[in-house]
Symmetry: C2
Amino acid sequence: MPQNVFFFGNGKAEGTREWRDLLGGKGANLHEMTNLGIPVPPGFTITTTVCDEFLKHGTSPGNLRDEVNAALARLEATVGRKFGDPKDPLLVSVRSGARVSMPGMMETILNLGLNDETVEGLAAQSKNPRFAWDSYRRFLQMYGDVVMGVASEQFEQLLSTKRMLSGAKTDAEIPADILKTLAGEYKLLVKHSLGRELPMDPHEQLWGAIEAVFKSWTLKKAVDYRKVNVIPDTPGTAVNVMAMVFGNLGDDSGTGVAFTRDPSTGERRFYGEFLVNAQGEDVVAGIRTPLPITAMADAFPEAYAALMKVQDTLEKHFRDMQDLEFTVERKTLYMLQTRTGKRTVAAAVRIAHEMVAEGLISKTDAVKRVRPSQLDQLLHPVLDPGTRATVLATGLPASPGAASGQAVFDADEAERRAARGDQVILVRPETTPEDFHGIVAARAVLTERGGMTSHAAVVCRGMGKVAVVGCKDIRVDVTKRCFTVGDTVVSERDWITLDGATGRVYAGHLPTVPSEVMRVLGGTLRAPDAPVFQSYDELLCWADGARRLKVRANADTPKDARTARQFGAEGIGLCRTEHMFFEGDRITPMREMIVAHDEAGRRRALEKLLPMQRSDFEGIFEAMSPYPVTIRLLDPPLHEFLPHGGEEVKLLARTLGITRPELNHLVDSLRETNPMLGHRGCRLGITYPEITEMQARAIFRAAVSVKRRGKEVHPEIMIPLVATVKEFDHQRAIVDRVAEEVMGSMGESLPYLVGTMIELPRAALTADLIAARAEFFSFGTNDLTQTTLGLSRDDAGRFLPLYVEKGIFPEDPFRVLDVEGVGQLIEMAVKKGRATRAGLKCGICGEHGGEPASVGFFHRAGLDYVSCSPFRVPIARLAAGQAALE
Amino acid sequence: MPQNVFFFGNGKAEGTREWRDLLGGKGANLHEMTNLGIPVPPGFTITTTVCDEFLKHGTSPGNLRDEVNAALARLEATVGRKFGDPKDPLLVSVRSGARVSMPGMMETILNLGLNDETVEGLAAQSKNPRFAWDSYRRFLQMYGDVVMGVASEQFEQLLSTKRMLSGAKTDAEIPADILKTLAGEYKLLVKHSLGRELPMDPHEQLWGAIEAVFKSWTLKKAVDYRKVNVIPDTPGTAVNVMAMVFGNLGDDSGTGVAFTRDPSTGERRFYGEFLVNAQGEDVVAGIRTPLPITAMADAFPEAYAALMKVQDTLEKHFRDMQDLEFTVERKTLYMLQTRTGKRTVAAAVRIAHEMVAEGLISKTDAVKRVRPSQLDQLLHPVLDPGTRATVLATGLPASPGAASGQAVFDADEAERRAARGDQVILVRPETTPEDFHGIVAARAVLTERGGMTSHAAVVCRGMGKVAVVGCKDIRVDVTKRCFTVGDTVVSERDWITLDGATGRVYAGHLPTVPSEVMRVLGGTLRAPDAPVFQSYDELLCWADGARRLKVRANADTPKDARTARQFGAEGIGLCRTEHMFFEGDRITPMREMIVAHDEAGRRRALEKLLPMQRSDFEGIFEAMSPYPVTIRLLDPPLHEFLPHGGEEVKLLARTLGITRPELNHLVDSLRETNPMLGHRGCRLGITYPEITEMQARAIFRAAVSVKRRGKEVHPEIMIPLVATVKEFDHQRAIVDRVAEEVMGSMGESLPYLVGTMIELPRAALTADLIAARAEFFSFGTNDLTQTTLGLSRDDAGRFLPLYVEKGIFPEDPFRVLDVEGVGQLIEMAVKKGRATRAGLKCGICGEHGGEPASVGFFHRAGLDYVSCSPFRVPIARLAAGQAALE
């Protein structure tokens, strides 16, 4: 039979830190500390396996009782006290301890072993009857609540009655005799509630407590916590039974928590809090103000010296910042817990970086230590930490950072007001590409509808602009130019503040400050004065050294391209040309093209767009030189460029010189039932080859011009929404012909590639055929996810949250790549494509390019690069480094 | 070097009928007839390989000239005349002849060998100068046009001038001397147009003609014909050079065309037309009215007897109905061509059936002889053959048959008027599921928008109802209740007639008649009086004997189910439950359910729907017993059940007792950007499990009731739009639980299956996982095509025709399955599914289930059944038979 109980004490433990799965995190570390010679109260750990078995079958293994009794006997011998001894009783704590720390989620029983007899022994031994009776009533309350299920409010009510009657302001002032009466009342409460007595036999108490800890694994809060933190349901929790030590025996006792480094900034200084004459729960409860840990040097010099030595030993031993719990009992230090400390991302970066310098960990360790998804917290402006404000509403945290501005309710107004220098926040029921200029002008965007990958969310993340979307609490009324939350009305020009990292919306103007990293990148702070920046920068360099995946950015403007390079992008993986058509007055020739009756009319309009596109491309090529720039040809359906509103149609009809009914009919005829699956992508370029021709001409003219200025250019032209190789062929022929024309007439040649988006299942399935003609693949995982799953990202909001909640999807597949389905197509396409064209360049340019788990998959799938929005480039660099190191 | 020229003549030919690829169809059959001892003018065939080479390299093989000269010498010897002999010249025809007949698409030169000298010899020999000069001027005109490229209108102008000046009414009245002058003018025309002479050297003439025939392979009309008829571009055309025979030498000569059986009815009687003293082109030109072939018995008894023998020989030899061309020259019969005759579908069925009885072909041959796609022409009403009418507009032929009725412009009006006994045709810009009751009530449907697989098209085909969709010629104005075609206005109650087989729309009431097959199935005609029905019926029985695929029908009502059985369906492969919700007043509780605020409200509304669904299912189970019935749970997005118009919203709000703004807000909030990829299918059943529960309850209660009546029932419950096995699991658990409940409470058990639609790429990719839980797969190829290709069938109309025209898609993928893409997913899913669950039942229930080429693929992919609309069941039966025989 396997061993179920493992003993620690007297400088020797049966387990080690490696046994987390079996002993839980807390247990394994108690064993480890014991073996390191660190003072830990002795005790024993019941394994997680027992918990699994107990929860499965409702009973514990047959030999458990014998093992526990043996361990208890050994504990008695070690401590020199007997369990249940009326003179000098051994008291124990019974604590949970899962493999992964789940703070506060499960149950604990302290002071176990007390009963009507042993409490008298404890009073005599401690020479402190009040302490003994207080310990006893606490035990009865905990046990009655946790093990027996009597509502804790009832115990609290009896306690507060006693406080009133004794004239005490706090529990600590209730005298011993009253506490004794209270203990009797607690026992009566249990008996009356349940019809049975709270057990007085310490062994019976112990078994009750052990089983209660096991059962607490399935408490709702514990189950929820595991779901949110993606912790598996097995193994369950271990149970640690430990001899009690008391920090509340008098002024020579105390208790505290500490971190081996500052968990907020990462600074290397011992940091913590301490209370004299108190138990652990008093520190957490916040009734008394704790002292800084340094004050302990004066109060208990020996214990403090011991603690300093212990913390140093533990950090060096565990090679990571530790979160410690300790108690001083009559001047002697006892360690109750050590675990890896939680920290802010700034602290994580700084600690990892500095521990390398200290020789504590390797660069590889450091790269692995930081969660890539947190990195962008270092980039976005933050709410001034000093402010306090009431949350008005909460939506989806679509694009992190904090921003304040005056609410505006349409894109034109946003542009007008921003041009006057106002800070505005664009508030819309939802956004469309028509709102693009408004988004550009606004500091942030707030929408009532739409999910994490809705238009507003994607565009804002791409621009590093704050966004809160799908904020169902608000009702936007565009006509009345206001939004309401319940009875509160926020009108145009009212100030609001968004926190895009939490999805919170605040009324008023809460000040924000740029992050340290951004201040250095922006040149307003010197790097030597910015320890977080230094750590961030060096850590990413180490990741760069490790990774195989290149990291590019999705960038549509020279400004975006420059930002992307600041963040370390090695090229542009997706330059969307359509956004260029929305800027300034370009929308007019674009619309002229759409309403033209024939090719000649379209060509006239395209002729006007050509120089604009060309100058855009020149700026982008220059900003990104010598890296490659992948330009996607026009993708969205044409109706996205036309106005929908009555007034705008009237205006446009006048501008274009056609009648309103004519224009309305055209808008109507372009309307699509499923625009996602409609007339877009290369289908446009095939229907209107002159569009492809104009775009190719603009690209090659720009490339040649930039090359003439002595800069290296690598245009990569990408044909969107290809389903069959024949579509690709059709478009490639136009691009090649224009390339030859332009280079011929300008007398300059340069290398270029023509490739395709793989964003339809059919393209992946026939990748072998497409690769015969395409020089690169770029997986458009947004659309590939939509088509593979048959899931519109604009509409999925109605059921996707439920799907994730029910575990039907492990994650939102638009955030984390669906490896089982979409991933299978990607692997297939890479394999088939490279079977036809060895070494085919493969990348990905969907939203998943900046999501760490997905980046890991792309590494394993053998892609050459990922491309993501500029602000996610650091995340991708780190994730790619981690993937390579796995 | 390969042989390029093959000789035939004097009862012996170098080639046979098997050499179609090399000698073309016409050439191979000329060789074959020669070998059979049938009188054929001697000649030789230049192979298709030469054409391919000529078109590729612009030159003919080096040895061709020697081979042609040798063949020509042999021809001279056989005929006993010399090419270019001024006294008695050999004249030849030069004709194209591809592997597959392309009637009229390529060029022919007759009377070649005539020049200023030989024409005199021909005049002397024939003792008919007018014949000789007419032949000469015809040759000059043909050669000048076809070989030299002078516009034929110019020759025509000279000819008509002569007609005027000579006072002739027809060309035949122009005297010989004028024709001689005309010949001179023709030569001058060529010289002035091109600056060079029309060649007088017969050898030069011959080479020019041969190359002109080769080049005619690439004429636009020939290329288009090949595209439409899916004929490959290689091999090209052969060239047949044959000694001329003349049907226009006098009253002892003539020419004709004939069929060995009636090509219209299939009746076994020799059928054809005949002209005395005429050449072949006169028969075609229709200037003189030809005589029935039987008249030839009197005019040329010997030649007629010979022809009767020849036609009998040829039909027996080729074992199929032949289309013959012949000439009688001075009482002697010459056969110029034989080929398989084109025929109507009725004739095809009857000929195939009768030839089996005659012992001419096997049953297998008969099954293979009929094009399955034509079969439904036998089922739909037909325009009375006697009527003549002007076509008003032409749309897409979405659902065949002919129907007349009064135009109505909304579904309610259609229902009201039909209830009064009026015949109505529903005319809409496009149809939605809301129009369902109107479609049911109407005789036919005409829409302005939508493709071959739009809602109207699919629903109408499913019901065997006539439909013309995507009729861009018309502009429907629902408000004014009319549609316009140019200046013509068709108002409500005006009669129109649709021909769903051609897409034609006629004004007025053109009478239609039910087809023979339908009259027998409907009991108004006895089978013994219906030869076409008998042939149809027996042919399908033979196909049934051969096929491995089962054929089921998509049917939503007991009536549909009964129709499907008449057509031979072996079960229902798709019963869509949503159509039931649109019928009568059921839409109201359905809408109550949608607007309900909570589950309790939804359950109350579902409770009202339960008995209705149950009674529907009872009817369907009874009609289909003992065959299986596959029922798909609710699939479409809920907004499809809500009204969109203002008036209807008002009415509904009143009915449901909620405010209009409330209802409007709800309609608005359910609106989806891409409903195809939205909140539908099992996503509904997961969000609202009570819907699945109600449907399962209705199904099982109905099944048990029908079983109690002593009928066998096999319900197969199908979960739609599954992307992951977890969705399936969730829904299956509900179905199984309800099944247990119902069977338990009703004290009766019966077998049932729970399976899934495979209609998303992800389902196919993870079929191994899904098959662990699903007991059958049914491929929903409509949606699978939409998602795999990223192509909305509602929107594809804007570019799909262009795609097919440009050859980017070989066919409309919603009509003929995209084997390369979608087919790959189907094969993958079948393989993966059966790897998990051996013998997993796999079927298909998309539109492709009734399309012959797709049925062939489904057979090869190893599916167990196809399911299609009832009227397509015969097509599927035949196609499945043919697939098995391949």
